[in-house]
């Protein structure tokens, strides 16, 4: 009997030692190239940002960012595998190496940058927290300041949950938080009337409103109570991978600035504009792409795969989508927005 125990224990120790040896190495780019796809953490289902369509294919603003990274590396936007994560699992999934990249409408904060061992690559959506109510049931309510005594549905472990507490405290309002771990549970509770108001990032509210039983009954209140800069994130301490993801974001925005679109990218390669030539890797003897560990025509691959930032925005959440979110803060800096890309040179 004791012999058995010892044998089992010995095997367990060996097994764990063997598995420990393969704990994530610090060269994600090589790992990704070797396995042939990018493992991307996305939201479990937020229409417009990341949700599977009727054919089971992932679609959305965040999903397209993952596809852009895959295009830059492999020249093929389909070389992505998606891991749906809820608010609670997302950081652990990235830390543990289960995913290579987190693109899940996640707010960039100092605490997450430091204590969690993450690095955010750049703000791909400037957002702010708002409230949604059922205007049919609560016709008199036109401002969040009238919500004293209300039950508010919120997802746990989000910056939203903290802003909510601070906002009501600062304005001396009473409220009753109804906190759910999963987005779907919070949505269902709000839809069934368990809560008077729903709070999350405004983009999320517009997206969730589409999934409610009667979307037209619900209005988003005008107050924005926080800054929510949403950014994709990678693990700290892997600068090579960080560079690839960071410059993919910059390339998307820059392409919009230069008017490079999915349709005209091939013509643009022979553009007379030296900036465009450089960005598209058509400059003689360029080493900009290889410096990243990619091919020199990496931007061409990205744009061919998913289009530029503006195209991604319009297709998923902007004018060309059911959400019809205005560009607002997310317009290019040249058009009064905040989207400003670092130069590729």
């Amino acid at each position: 009997m004791k012999n058995h125990v010892k044998a089992i224990l010995g095997a367990a120790v060996l097994g764990l030692a063997a598995s420990a040896a393969s704990v994530s190495s610090a060269d994600t780019l090589s790992d990704v190239k070797a396995k042939g796809f990018v493992q991307c953490g996305v939201n479990t289902g937020l229409a417009g940002f990341s949700a599977p369509d009727d054919k089971g294919e992932w679609k959305g603003f965040d999903v397209d960012f993952c596809r852009a990274v895959a295009s830059a590396i492999f020249g093929d936007p389909s070389k992505v595998k998606f891991t749906p994560t809820n608010a609670k699992e997302r950081f652990t999934a990235l830390q543990s190496g289960e995913i290579d990249l987190l693109a899940r409408n996640t707010t960039w904060t100092l605490g997450r940058d430091t204590a969690l061992g993450l690095t955010f690559v750049g703000v791909n959506y400037y957002d702010g927290q708002g409230f949604m109510i059922n205007a049919k049931k609560l016709p008199g309510v036109t401002s969040a300041l009238q919500l004293s005594g209300a039950s508010v549905c919120v997802q746990s472990g989000t910056t939203t949950e903290l802003n909510l507490a601070d906002y009501f405290k600062a304005n001396n309002l009473e409220y009753n938080p109804v906190v759910f771990e999963k987005l779907e549970e919070a949505n269902a509770a709000y839809d069934s009337g368990r809560c008077d108001a729903y709070t999350t990032d405004q983009s999320g509210l517009y997206s969730i409103r589409l999934t409610l039983a009667s979307p037209d009954d619900h209005i988003v209140l005008p107050e924005i109570i926080s800054k929510e800069p949403l950014a994709p994130a990678v693990r700290q301490g892997d600068d090579k991978w960080f560079n690839v993801v960071k410059w993919t974001y910059n390339a998307l925005v820059l392409a919009e600035e230069y008017g490079i679109t999915q349709a005209n990218v091939d013509e643009m390669k022979s553009s007379k504009n030296p900036d465009i030539q450089r960005v598209l890797g058509a400059e003689a003897g360029t080493t900009l792409g290889t410096g990243l560990g990619l091919d020199n025509d990496w931007v061409v691959k990205i744009i061919k795969g998913v289009g530029n930032y503006g195209e991604i925005f319009d297709r998923n959440i902007g004018a060309g989508s059911p959400l019809k979110i205005a560009r607002g803060l997310n317009a290019l800096w040249t058009k009064g927005g905040l989207q400003y890309a670092m130069p590729i040179r």
Binding site: K6, F180, G237
Partner: protein, 396 residues
């Protein structure tokens, strides 16, 4: 095993000490112990090392930071300015509340259904059987969803609340009761109650002594009931009825004032009670059936009536069978309460999960969860073991 059968003296001076089963056993134990310590040490070192390498802060210092989030259900005072530590305590209290109320209700339902399954009445017997078979075969999470989504969500909106007697209301935000407000002199009531408990104990002891000495019996039960109800009531009257009620009133969003029992708590509490009761019913049935029929017959033959036979002969022997598996069910109920997370009842796991995500200290929070649930389980099984030892028949 074979070696033990060998005659001891044959292994004397000639044989190696390795063949001595006692020494060999000790060596095995020592090797196992060293391996275990090495294993734990290695796991711990590995974890700390990996965390440091991934630039994740570790340690329990974060527990003293400001929590920053609000909790809907707090039995003890809490605000978002309190620490993570205190938020965890709030969660632990909520877990304890649902566990204790659930255990009490599950025991009562389980006992009734268990006895019902042995009823002479065909209908009662079958109803109890159907109950047991349904709840025993559904995962507890589904039972929770049944109550939350199927029953409590279907209740009307606050504006169309259902009025209940005594100023209580029912809507999809829960159950609203008038809150008692105790006036001056109300402290007399708990004092009177404690006094009554003391008196009951005294009466029971005297009655026992008297019966042992003279054989005369004394109605201890009814005397106790009279004491426990009568004395606090007397104090209530003497203090001049120091009780008023705050009734829930309708406001813009919901009913305000009074005591609110939220649907999250209600569904968890009802689901755990009904689910666990199905198992307890089977345990109770097994316990009663496990007492030999001859015991009852012997008691009747000695002239005991039905009630004393049950109380003095059947139940003590049934309890001996019932208590150990009952302990497991109580532990299961307590651990199943962590399913609260699915419906947003702020128990220990729910609040721990929030803290985990807000602070990023996953390993520490998981460690706290494990230690707390282990502690809860050890305390409960310790208590049940003590109770079992007290109830066990003294065999001669």
């Amino acid at each position: 095993m074979v070696s033990q059968e060998m005659p001891r003296d044959a292994s004397g001076a000639g044989a190696s000490f390795i063949n001595d089963p006692r020494i060999r056993g000790l060596i095995y134990q020592a090797v196992l112990f060293v391996l275990l310590v090495a294993f734990v040490y290695w796991i711990f070192g590995n974890t700390v090392d990996n965390l440091r390498r991934s630039n994740i802060t570790s340690g329990f210092g974060f527990l003293n930071s400001r929590a920053g989030f609000d909790i809907s259900e707090t039995l003890i005072s809490y605000s978002s300015n309190d620490t993570y530590k205190w938020a965890l305590v709030v969660g632990l209290v909520n877990t304890a509340v649902v566990a204790v109320t659930g255990i009490i209700t599950a025991s009562i339902i389980g006992f009734l259904v268990g006895v019902g399954r042995l009823s002479e009445n065909w209908l009662i017997r079958k109803i109890c059987m159907v109950y047991v078979e349904i709840f025993r075969n559904i995962p507890p999470l589904l039972v929770i969803f049944f109550w939350y989504l199927g029953v409590l969500s279907a209740l009307p909106q606050p504006r169309e609340s259902i009025a209940l007697p005594f100023g209580a209301w029912l809507n999809n935000r829960g159950f609203f009761l008038p809150a008692p407000i105790w006036g001056e002199g109300a402290w007399l009531i708990p004092v009177a109650f404690l006094l009554a408990v003391g008196l009951c104990w005294f009466v029971a002891r005297r009655a026992h002594q008297r019966q042992a000495a003279t054989g005369e019996q004394f109605p201890v039960f009814w005397t106790s009931v009279a004491l426990l109800v009568g004395l606090p009531l007397l104090a209530f009257v003497a203090a001049g009825f120091p009780l008023t009620f705050e009734f829930p009133k309708k406001s813009t969003f919901n009913l305000l004032g009074g005591t609110q029992i939220r649907p999250e708590f209600l569904s968890l509490y009802l689901a755990l009670s009904f689910y666990t009761a199905a198992f307890i019913a089977e345990i109770v049935r097994a316990g009663i059936l496990g007492v030999n029929k001859g015991q009852t017959e012997a008691a009747y033959a000695l002239g005991l009536r039905r009630r004393p036979t049950l109380r003095l002969v059947v139940v003590p022997q049934a309890l001996r069978i019932v208590i150990p598996p009952l302990t497991s069910q109580y532990l299961n109920l307590t651990k199943n309460s962590s399913l609260a997370i699915a419906i947003g009842y702020p128990d220990l796991v729910h609040i721990g999960g929030t803290i985990l995500n807000q602070s990023g200290h996953a390993i520490e929070i998981v460690a706290i969860w494990m230690v707390v649930y282990l502690g809860l389980s050890l305390v409960m099984s310790g208590f049940m073991n003590w109770f079992n030892a007290k109830m066990a028949l003294v065999e001669r």
